[in-house]
């Protein structure tokens, strides 16, 4: 950029345009300060306080964080959240990429198929949690009935502390259709010439998949991986509904956000809850940064996409 002296009228035009720009941004800037920036600072300070929402907050330094190391419920919630994320995110990504590949075929009924696979992801919430409570019913649920048909005695699912987390993971896979659409859009953006070139080089179906499709999808997978981990660390509604807000049995589904909720709005330990929320935030931040660090190794950016 070369700095050119501007005429006075032009400069005021630029300034005017800037003013208008900020004018249009003003609702977001205001909201950002009121509902994001301000609260983040406040919550950071509260993490070092004892506060019941009524009396004035008491500064207690790192006590909240020290308390976590001996808080077995916190450690359990951390374990449960990691466990869930460790399985739900990779399985969800593999599942949604596979479904997207299938949906990218030139079949006549592909539109109906897309609708069917996508539909469950918009029903996420209380209602779908209730549907799954019924599907996972140990004695009369469809899932255990299906297992019985192939000779397996199904577990007690949400009533068994060893099976409650796998139950949540299976539930989450019902929603792969949401990410499927993202990958489908990515797949349709892969230029045909690349496949044609690979064919000329004698590449088969599998080689084309690994050497063309996968590299071209990596930017989408990368972005989606980050957002999936962020979302997965925040699992709440399903657990709340299926366990009546308890995270049972035996705290086996007590996830971090549910634990934060319990401390904030059940026990009114606003300081401790804030500290817990910050731990969640930092975990998400670390995961995101790690992914950005290692992304150079596996994420392939095509020409102008690299910024």
């Amino acid at each position: 950029m070369i700095d050119k002296p501007l005429k006075k009228s032009k400069m005021s035009m630029a300034a005017q345009e800037g003013m208008w720009g900020y004018f249009f941004l003003s609702p977001w800037i205001l909201g950002m300060i009121l509902f994001t920036g301000g609260p983040i600072i406040a919550s950071f300070l509260l993490a070092f306080c004892n506060w019941d929402l009524i009396t004035t907050p008491q500064w207690i330094g790192f006590d909240n964080f020290a308390r976590m190391f001996t808080d077995s419920r916190f450690l359990a919630s951390l374990y449960n959240t990691f466990y869930y994320t460790l399985f739900a995110v990779p399985l969800g990504i593999v599942g949604s990429v596979l479904v997207a590949l299938l949906m990218n075929q030139e079949w006549k009924s592909v539109r109906i198929l897309r609708t069917i696979y996508y539909l469950p992801s918009v029903t996420a919430g209380v209602a779908s949690a209730i549907i799954w409570m019924w599907l996972l019913n140990p004695d009369f649920g469809l899932i255990n009935y299906g297992l019985k048909l192939i000779g397996i005695t199904g577990p007690q699912w949400m009533a068994d502390e060893n099976w409650s987390k796998p139950a949540l993971i299976i539930m989450s896979l019902w929603g792969v259709g949401g990410n499927m659409i993202i990958y489908l859009a990515g797949l349709q953006g892969v230029p045909r010439q690349l496949y044609e070139a690979a064919e000329i080089d004698g590449a088969g179906m599998i080689q084309k998949f690994w050497n063309v499709t996968v590299p071209m999808l990596t930017p989408v997978i990368f972005f989606n991986l980050i957002m999936s981990i962020v979302a997965s660390f925040q699992i709440f509604t399903q657990v709340y509904v299926m366990t009546g807000g308890q995270g049972g049995p035996a705290d086996s589904t007590l996830v971090l956000v549910l634990y934060i909720y319990q401390h904030a709005f059940k026990f009114h330990n606003m300081g401790y809850a804030s500290a817990l929320a910050w731990v969640l935030f930092i975990i998400i931040l670390i995961f995101t940064l790690i992914q950005f660090k290692v992304s150079g190794g596996w994420v392939h950016y095509e020409g102008e996409l690299k910024k």
Partner: protein
Amino acid sequence: MAKKEMSFWASQRLQAKITSWILYIITWAGAVVFVIPLVWMISTSLKAPDQIFTVPPKWIPYSQLYLKYDTRILAQFDGKVLIENEAEGIKRIQLGTFSHVIPENAEIKVKNKQKVKKGDLLATLPTSGKVRIIINPDKSKILQVVAKGGFVIKEIQATQDTRFVVKDGDTVTVGAKLADIMPQWSNYMKAWAPKALDETFNRYLLNTVIITFFGILGTLLSSSFVAYGFARFKFPFKNELFLVMVSTMMIPAQVTMIPTFFLFKMFGWIDTFLPLIVPTFFGGGAFNIFLLRQFFLTIPFELDEAARIDGCNYLQVFYMILLPLVKPALVTTAIFGFVYNWNDFMNPLIYLNSTSNYTLALGLQTFTTMYGTDYNLMMAASTIVLLPILIMFFFGQRYFIEGVATTGLKG
């Protein structure tokens, strides 16, 4: 040589065709698995109580009811029987502590004071009787098969969706078909106005509609406004601000939740809809701003300039020229806003206390804690809550897919 190559190509094409067919079948099998939970929800929602807990599961909520009962009365243990007249037309066979009341026209196979052994046939009940249908004030029905002397041989509790194929006063014998148990549409009425809850779903629906309406309005107005700013103006720190906006998507809501709660508490907004509505007017969410900005960027800048030359100011350019052009993106935003507000659970859970302010999601959650084993009612309530989402989805599918494809993000 040429021939060999031909067959090679033919076999490859055949292989590809077979692979494609296998994939096709797998895809449809998967689709069936994906749709089963919703089919199962609707099927269960239409079941009578005794159709729910069956093995194997019953897919079609319909069954037929036959007159079935054991006509034999057997001795439970050894002893001496006593036969007495209980009332007009009714007799009683007493065996130790057990007594069987039977109608006069039952065939008594033993004599008074006869000694019997365990398992001996004492009497056989009449195999036919007259039908009596009683309709309760709540429209549920009771069907009785009555023998001589008003003795009730069999009593069946039915709902209003049970269609009797016999009339009052008909004579029926064992094995006769009594009724068709039709899909229980009455479950929906029961779920809509649950007895155990303080409020009906009317109230929850109204609340949800109000919150969703204003939530969408706020989102549409403010996100398009801000997106226009990001898409069309040059100003200092624009890229930095945009980066800040995109990265706010990664901040978990729990970090800001507690101070925000306190802020709204100071405003006196707890247990009102305001905490759920007002924030949407301040930006409408990073995702929506991002989506709309992408759309604004696809519109040629010459349009703005032409309008400017015609004397429009920036506000006029925004709402007269650009907004109409991004209508599809606005519809996408509205649909995502609808789904988000309709399904939102955590915010209403935190901010709404009185049951009269509950949203459908909260009402539904409360409903399950009250009707935890009535799966037919729970599924009916879930269907009610999901129905608008499903309808919205079928009409707006195109917009969902466009929105996701444009941003690479779910709503």
